[in-house]
Structure formats: C-alpha cells, structure tokens
Subunit: 363 residues, 2 copies
C-alpha cells in the first residue's frame, strides 16, 4: 500500500493553532511506527475566501478527492458574516461534504471522567456517558432543491426542501448499524414521522435495514422527544441515527451534555475508494472560536482526537488510535488543562502548545 | 361582553383525567368571580377517530372557531400508531392550529423553586430559570407543499418543504417582541441562516421588525448553537423566537431543563376575533402518557396552568391568572406531589384528583 496521505485544512480562527499540535502528533506517530504520512496543507473557509474569493478553491477540492483523509480545523468568523450566502465560509465545508459524498457523520458524545464536573448536568447523569450519533450528512434540507428566496405576490418567500431517497437513508443506516454491532448493539432512530412524510420514509427504511442486523435492538423516537431524552437521561442511548438537520441540532445538544466541547472529535465517512479506504474527513466539533483565536488558549484535544478517529477509520491503525486516546485521557487526569477545562480561579491554564506537548509526552 | 366561552378537548391518554381537575378550577373561579364560563366538551385525536373515523370532526372544528378559547389535553397513543398519516391523532391537533391560524405558540420554560432538584441539570444552572419560547406554529415544514412520498426512478423519495413568507415571519416576530417588552426586553431569534435561505429571510425580517421595538435587545443564534446554549446556560435567555420545527425541538429541550414537564403549559394565539379576544388554544406541553393513563397518577398542573394562561391571554383576568399560578406554587411548596415530582421511595404520591383539590384549597 502507498503511504497514507492527509490533507490538512486548518481553516479559520483557532483552526491554525490546534492543527499545529496535531502535526506534532502526526510526526510522532509517523516516526514511532515508521509510517510516512504524506501531509499537505491548504485553505478552506474564510481563509480561502481571502486568498481566492471562494471558500474552497477547485484545486483544493481536487486534492481532497485524492487523499486518504482530510483533516479540517474550523471555518467562519465575524468578518465573513456579511458575505453573500454562496461564498460564506460554511459553503466550503458543505462542498467538501457533498462532493466527497461523506454521508455518514460520526459524532461521539463522550464524557471524560476527569471532566464530568464540567457538565451543566449532574454528575451521575453524565459520568460514563458514551453515545455515538450518526448523522446523515449529504442530503436532506441542507442540499434539497428547490431552495432560495423569491418574490411571490409582492412579498419575499424563503424555501428549503427536505428530500430523502430510500438509498440515502439506507446507506447511512447501514453505517449506523455496523457501529452498533461493535458497540452495545442498540440503535435509536430519530425523525418526526408524526408530522413529516420524509420521516415516515426514514422510519420505514431503517426498519427494513434492521432485518439485516437481527442482533441490534432498534427503537424509534420523535426528534423532539429525542432532545428531551438526551437532556433527561442521555445514558439510555448507544447509537443514534438521524437526518442532516436533526443531527446538527441533536449532536450539538449531546456534545454540550458532556461539558467538554473542546474535547469532541468527529468523522465524516463516504464510500470506499479504490485502495479500500473510505473517503473521509475528520474535524473537531467545536467551531472557529474567533474570540480566542491567535492567543494560544484553544484546546487542541478535539482536533487531536479527530486524528485518532482518522487512525482508526482511515488507516486501520486502531491500536495507535487507542493509544492516542489514552494519552489524552492521561493528560487530563494529570490535571493539564487549557482554559476551557478549568473553573477555579488562580490556576494557570496550559497553552495550546503546552497541551499538545503534554499529549506527546504521555504517548 | 358575552360570557367567556371555552371548548374543552381532553383528547387521549391522561387528557381526560387532567381535564377533570381543570374543570374544578374553572368552576371555582367562575363562582368566586361571578363569571359564567360557557363550557362545552368534544373529541379530538384518537378519541375522535374512534368515534368519527377522523381525528377532528368538522363540527368540532366549527365549534373551535366560535369559542373564545380551546383547552386541549393531549393526543396520541400506541393503538393509533399504525393509522394512515392522514388520520393520525396528531392531524387533529395540526388542523386546529392551522384552521384557527394560531401562529404564535408561547411555551414558557420555568423552573419552579420547589422542583429545582428535579432537573437533570445542576441546581445553580436552572434555579430561577424563566424563558419564554415563541414558536411559529402555522407554517414551515409542518405545512409546506410539496410534501409526500413518491416513486422516482424506481425508489421511494420523501419530501417536505420548509416555506416561510415575510408576513408569516413578521407576525410571529411581533408577538415575540410584544412579550419581550413585558419581560426583560431581550429577544434571541434562532435559525440556520448559515445553511438555509429560509433562515436568511427569517433573520432579515426579524431584524426589520426590531426597528419598531428599539428598547428590545435583539440577538441571532444558529439553532444548533441554541440547543447547546440552552443546555450550557439557559438563564442567558429571556424570549426566544424560532420557527415551527426548530421550535418543536428547542422548546422540548428547554422544557426538560426545568425537570418538571408535568408543570409546563402553553398557549397558541392567533389574530383578534370580533370581540377583541385572540383566537386561542391552550394545552399542556406533556403528551398523552398512555403508560399511566387512567390510573390517577397524572399531574394536572400543566393543564391547570394552561388554563391560567387562558385567563391571562383570552379573558383579561391577569389577577386571577397570577392567583392560580401562586396557588400551584404553594401546593408544591407544601410538598403535595404527584409521582412525577417525587424521587424519594416511601413517600406516597398524591393522585391526580388530590393534586387538583389541593390547588383549589390553596386558592
Ligand atoms: C458550520 C455549519 C455549516 C455546520 C452544519 O450546520 O452542519 C456545523 O454546525 C456542523 O454541525 O458541522
Ligand atoms: C404532537 C405533535 C404533532 C406536536 C408537534 O410536533 O408540534 C408536539 O410535539 C408539540 O410540540 O406540540
């Protein structure tokens, strides 16, 4: 097999800083395991707009299609708020998802023992929490046509379309069931089948797919109740499968339950490429945090753990992924903390780079 | 002015039981204040389907259009799960909302002092919480066309349409700004303007309306971040204005933060009728709870407090509303609790009717 290849797209805000720490980890693992990661770097989001006038250049898109995995930092910032919809930083991210056809977005919501106090929820409700949300990522209201703002009878009308085909629902469902098989074998599918026909189709297709996974216990829940249950008793869930828009909201809700947004990675996976590896992009769940960008305050762990997911899902290096995750847990247990993981006054927070170095040391 | 008229639609599950307690309150207030409420009762949801084969009969719809206020219990139950989409219990509720044109759904999320321990969130995060969510209720993806499941190139495709006109966004916004004026004068509008054009229009129109309310501080938030912020620090909000689908999810999330779903009322308001009263329907936020229906275990407070909202918004009896709300708080403080408000073993819960009687006694 050829060298594993990685395209790094730091993007905007704290993206640059946290990615610098991930590079240290990549180098360390490359050296230790005697693998050469072919790493290249490019622009996305506002950074790409500033350079090219578009949030993702065609050449960057082409590169992303060729590599084994894309590692993305974050996109967006207040200076881009007034840009036209078509060139907003987010469009760069959405183009990557769509053109790479990354239909399965894996968002683990995990509560780190050392950080359970950080949650706004009571400790016993969240400690040990470990859910995996699988969000359909390439369809639904994010991409459905018709869309746009038009004038009808003298007033503006805004339209977006929620549209799902059987095949789209099915492939995401298979990804979710496969994950459930490796976990606690429970899958909860969420939609609004009581109100939306697309939700009825969703429920039908997921039920159909479940016949191929008789060991997995399937349940269905309306998305509004899902939000409630996540807040009430999140540990009742193992894997959750839901659509692009519900997944956006519910995964953010679940992420916040853990109290440590700066710790949460994600993986977006597509179909296998010729070399057998899936098309893949990895990114932290947190955003570009423009308020602290450039100050060395950002927590690099979410991005480092996103690389751990890359090791696991793209490079078949599960043992290294485990080891990297254990190193991050050890650093937390040792009390090394960036500012977002501290609530006592007087304790000096670790800088982004100190946190990265501590992870390397723990490895 | 003619007698205030009320149509009671207990619906399914625990709807019947909780409504019996509300009737006691209606009678008590009528007697004390020497008002005659003209009360009639009819069927909705599964109960209507069982009788008429539809979840809301045309005659019931006509009655609802004539009264000053509709009081609805809850709809739905497992025995109706396999009904055709068009006659599901929910369709009865949605028909009422749509044909009465109840565009402003007011959902207070309030944490009762005596119940703060009940929340899955830490006490300091939720105690004193008092948010008002205004959800647009007659448009968006709930009612947009085209919709349905069709066959395209040999596979099924599910479609729903998110559609908002300027006028629809505006009238809900005005209701939200008016409420903000009577509260802490802060309004947060939530959408996904970074992904959906309908969200861009939403943001535009709300910003435009805000010019008529210079005293209200307006902010905008993406709905996914809204879900996070509700979990992280809900007390940052005063009034939230959002669309039908986001409102469904976010208001349930907010309701669960309080830990006392059995306590939360809602009001759905439309345009003023000839007599000056708005078209209105009041309902508890909780569902039909088929698992405990008929056992005298249900908490009637949410439904009683929904009637308090009716006193305030439909009957201009704000003082009586305050008094009723204070009576409910007193009952809680006195420790009278239905099972949903108890977590100690050994304490005998109050029955639905004991709870209702206690409220009357406190009045
Ligand atoms: C940045 C934005 C376009 C994106 C989304 O809405 O999907 C983000 O919220 C996410 O969840 O990855
Ligand atoms: C019962 C259902 C149709 C309804 C909705 O989705 O609006 C409910 O969840 C609500 O929030 O009132």
């Amino acid at each position: 097999m050829t060298n594993p290849s990685l395209l790094i797209l730091p993007g905007d805000g704290i993206g640059q800083e946290v990615m610098a720490e991930v590079r240290k980890v990549i180098d360390w693992i490359g050296a230790k395991r005697d693998v050469t990661f072919d790493v290249s770097e490019d622009l996305v989001g506002g950074a790409a707009y500033d350079e090219h006038g578009v949030p993702l250049a065609d050449e960057t898109m082409a590169k992303a299609q060729e590599v084994d995995a894309v590692l993305l930092g974050a996109v967006g910032g207040p200076q881009y708020d007034d840009l036209d919809f078509s060139v907003k930083p987010e469009r760069g991210l959405l183009r990557l998802r769509k053109e790479m056809d990354l239909f399965a977005n894996l968002r683990p919501a995990q509560c780190f023992d050392a950080l359970a106090d950080f949650s706004s929820l009571k400790k016993d409700i969240v400690s040990g929490l470990d859910i995996m949300i699988v969000r359909e990522l390439t369809s639904g209201v994010y991409f459905g046509e018709p869309r746009g703002i038009s004038e009808v009878d003298g007033q503006r009308v805004g339209v977006n379309t929620q549209r799902y085909t059987e095949a789209e629902i099915e492939r995401g469902a298979r990804a979710a069931f496969e994950l459930a098989m490796k976990r606690d074998k429970r899958l909860c599918s969420m939609e609004k089948a009581n109100v939306m026909e697309s939700g009825i189709l969703w429920r039908d297709v997921v039920t159909e797919v479940s016949k191929d996974y008789p060991e997995v216990e399937l349940s269905h829940m309306y998305a509004d109740n899902g939000a409630m249950q996540l807040v009430r008793a999140p540990k009742q869930f193992d894997v959750i499968y839901t659509d692009n828009l519900f997944g956006d909201i519910l995964s953010d809700c679940a992420a916040m339950l853990t109290g440590s947004l700066g710790m949460l990675p994600s993986a977006s996976l597509g179909a296998p490429m010729e070399n057998g590896r899936p098309k893949a992009m990895y990114e932290p769940v947190h955003g570009s945090a423009p308020d602290i960008a450039g100050e060395g305050k950002a927590n690099p762990c979410a991005c480092i753990l996103s690389f751990a997911m890359a090791l696991r899902y793209s490079f078949d290096m599960g043992a290294e992924a485990d080891r990297l995750e254990a190193a991050v847990e050890k650093v937390l247990a040792d009390g090394v903390r960036t500012g977002d993981l501290l609530n006592e006054a007087g304790v000096k927070p670790a800088t982004t780079s100190e946190m990265g170095n501590a992870v390397i040391a723990a490895l």
